[in-house]
């Protein structure tokens, strides 16, 4: 029976408490049989699974945090970028170039480019006319035609000044827009122009532009300069800004005084091959690099680097190589008398001297008086094969290894065949053309104690190991002593700089005509020198192109009157800047001091 809760409960009847009462309320049903307990192994396994899952979750979470922390700590600290340039896909940051003392030769500054979006223009004609007023080289008609041609984008100017920017801004034309970029700046102007070369814009974007080197070290080290892994470390060159400046100043003055149309100078460390100054005039401003000449002689262009690219017959400066080789082979010594009776006949050629020097001269005097005949006789004794080997060991058969894009193109001109007449003429520098840099390397290699040097434009942290030996220490000292006497009592007497024992050899070579043969009145004069001769530190080569002066009552074109005074002025100006002490002791010129110095090293 169903009992509803609101019904009144009936009173229980008073009955015998011991009589069993039939239960009115049905008893709770018997509890269902309990399922048998699960095996504890399974429970444990399940709990273990759960625990493992939880642990895995924790491990995963912590691993995620750990990995992220590792990634943060392992990633490189990035240089903060300017907000506007971040996200620009073109690499625009280019490292500086400095000289050996850290003075800036090339750096970047912010610049503004101007571009047009004609579909945004309000008044294309006013814009074109306004631009023509601001930029005199822009033609209003042309640009109006372009703005109305339907194109949606024009680059107008790669680089404008803040004043021009303000003027364009004042035009109030919404279709003329400014792009942000960096610009390569050479703060020293034309100084070291041929070394630096120049740069131009590669890929352009309105937010950034890529700077690309087009010549000189800018092109050679293009990848290095734009490599972000370098973190902006500058490229440190071996040149010294003040020395370079003094050399260029003297060279420009010398070129004007000597009525030359060009000049070049190389100042090189004789032991390491580091170039302290390399100049070629006329030069140019790398900030505004002129276009390559399309007509006329490319050798007359200011872009032409006479010191590296100019391949000239270097004249009598070669004689010291012949003398040094002869000494090295033991064919002669400094006092051996050489027959100098001229003219010397070889086939249909005749070799004669500038002046008749008598029947015979010692080897030293052959160099001092610059006797072609004497040198040719010595070369004949050496022979063509050995002469070639020697010149090859000095690098006269290959382009120089200097780090300029122009260098590999300057291959020396070597005769295809090498008959005896070539042996003879090359012994005094005719018939083989090389650049002044080749000559500097040859002089450095022979005179620094006799080991080969490689020219470089990079500052070296440690001095390089000596190169292969080309001549012995003693021959090197003898060669320097001969060169010293050329200055003391020979053809280069104007080259004396008191205190610095300059030794050197002059060379005057007739210029070849393009049509064959040689000019009578056009010469290349060269003075290759070493200083101080007793303890050599630097090699200097000065070359003048077509010099001619009126001196001592006649027209002079020889190196002794033209290249030598310029070189001596370079030495006078550069030595204090290089930190060389003068030595006024006359004993420095004795041969014993030369040997002692080479023994000290």
């Amino acid at each position: 029976m169903i009992r509803l809760p609101f019904w009144p409960r009936r009173r229980p009847l008073a009955t015998d408490p011991f009589v069993p009462v039939a239960p009115r309320v049905p008893r709770a049903p018997e509890p269902a049989p309990v399922a048998p307990r699960e095996a504890p192994e399974r429970i444990r396994a399940r709990a273990e699974r759960r625990m493992k899952f939880t642990a895995a979750c924790f491990v995963f979470g912590f691993a995620l945090v750990g990995v992220k922390m590792g990634a943060i700590s392992a990633s490189e600290a990035r240089e903060p970028s300017t907000g506007s340039l971040s996200g620009a896909s073109i690499v625009s940051d280019r490292a500086d170039i400095t000289d050996r003392n850290g003075r800036v030769l090339a750096t970047n500054v912010d610049a503004t480019a101007l571009y047009a979006q004609p579909h945004l223009m309000v008044d294309a004609r006013a814009a074109a006319e306004g631009l023509a007023r601001i930029f005199p080289d822009m033609d209003a008609e042309t640009w109006h035609r372009r703005f109305t041609s339907g194109s949606k984008f024009f680059w107008l100017k790669g680089n404008i000044s803040p004043e021009q920017k303000q003027a364009v801004h004042d035009l109030g034309e919404p279709g003329l827009l400014f792009g942000q970029r960096e610009m390569r700046l050479y703060p020293n102007g034309p100084l070291a122009a041929h070394i630096l070369g120049g740069a131009r814009y590669g890929e352009q974007d309105v937010r950034a532009a890529e700077i690309k080197g087009i010549a000189g070290v800018e092109a050679t080290f293009n990848e290095f300069l734009r490599d972000p892994a370098q973190e902006g470390a500058p490229l440190r060159l071996s040149i010294d800004l003040s020395v370079q400046s003094a050399v260029e100043r003297v060279l420009e003055g010398g070129m004007a005084l000597m009525n030359a149309k060009g000049a070049a100078a190389i100042l090189m460390d004789i032991h390491t091959g580091e170039i302290r100054a390399l100049a070629s005039v006329p030069d140019f401003d790398p900030n505004d690099r002129p276009a390559p000449a399309v007509e006329g002689d490319p050798g007359d262009s200011p872009l032409f680097n006479r010191a590296v690219q100019g391949v000239y017959e270097l004249g009598s400066t070669f004689k010291i190589f012949t003398a040094a080789q002869s000494l090295e082979l033991g064919l002669t010594n400094a006092g051996t008398m050489i027959d100098t009776t001229g003219p010397l006949r070889q086939g249909r050629h005749r070799i004669r001297d500038f002046r008749n020097y008598g029947p015979e001269l010692s080897v030293t005097d052959v160099i001092v008086k610059s006797s072609n005949v004497g040198t040719a006789r010595m070369a004949l004794d050496i022979g063509a094969a050995r002469q070639q080997d020697f010149l090859r060991s000095l690098g006269f058969f290959e382009p120089t290894a200097i780090e300029l894009t122009e260098a590999p193109g300057a291959r020396p001109l070597i005769p295809a065949r090498w008959p005896d007449i070539s042996t003879m003429t090359i012994s005094y520098g005719h018939g083989l053309s090389a650049s002044p840099l080749h000559l500097a390397v040859g002089y450095a290699s022979v005179l620094n104690g006799g080991t080969r040097v490689e020219p470089t434009l990079l500052a070296r942290a440690t001095p390089p190991a000596p190169g292969t030996r080309v001549v012995s220490e003693r021959v090197s000292a003898q060669a320097r002593h001969m060169l010293r006497q050329v200055v003391m009592r020979g053809t280069a007497s104007l080259g004396e700089v008191s205190g610095y024992q300059v030794g050197g050899k002059t060379g005057t070579a007739d210029k070849p005509k393009y049509t064959g043969g040689y000019w009578d009145d056009k010469v290349i004069t060269t003075f290759a020198s070493v200083f101080p001769a007793d303890d050599p530190q630097y090699v200097l080569v000065v070359t003048l192109d077509e010099p001619q002066i009126e001196a001592a009552g006649e027209q002079r074109r020889t190196a002794g009157w033209t290249a030598v005074p310029v070189a001596s002025e370079v030495v006078r100006r550069a030595t204090p800047l290089l930190g060389l002490r003068p030595d006024f002791n006359p004993a420095a010129d004795s041969f014993a001091s030369y040997l002692a110095e080479s023994g000290n090293r």
Partner: protein
């Protein structure tokens, strides 16, 4: 009773945590904005620095320094360094001994006192004749003549 308390406490905790997370989120965003601002400021300073370096190099270019040295030649008398400007330490004269005040040491005695020292071209002492430094001769084109 207990249960209600737990519920209330956990609700309060959730609200507090939500508030905290919300605030942290905003803090984070503000900080990252700050970092971005600082980074762009550092970048701008870097650019300024490189601009100043370029300007320094431009103002110190050898051409300009040379022109300035020539323009101020009368005041500074700067000449290119020469071999004659080098000397050994022995060539430098010691300063003359202090004169015994009040009687000044006559120049003759001074000369005797420093007899062994090479005096290059200076005379020391108050009574030495003043040296006249001639103004430089300038050519028509402003080129300085030696």
């Amino acid at each position: 009773m207990m249960r209600g308390l737990i519920y209330a406490a956990s609700i309060a905790a959730v609200v507090a945590l939500a508030f905290w997370a919300y605030r942290e989120g905003y803090d984070t965003r503000a900080t990252s904005r700050d970092v971005a601002r600082l980074q762009s400021e550092i970048g701008a300073r870097h650019q300024e620095l490189s601009m100043l370096r370029a300007e320094w190099a431009y103002l110190n270019r050898p051409d300009r320094l040379h022109a300035l040295a020539e323009m101020n030649f009368e005041r500074l008398a700067l000449m290119p360094l020469d071999a004659d400007h080098f000397a050994v330490v022995d060539q430098v004269a010691y300063p003359p001994p202090a004169p015994e005040w009040p009687a000044p040491v006559p120049a003759v005695e001074l000369e005797e006192a420093v007899e062994d020292v090479i005096i290059m071209n200076h005379r020391y002492g108050a009574d030495a004749a003043p040296r006249l430094i001639a103004p430089p001769t300038l050519a028509d084109d402003g080129e300085q003549l030696p």
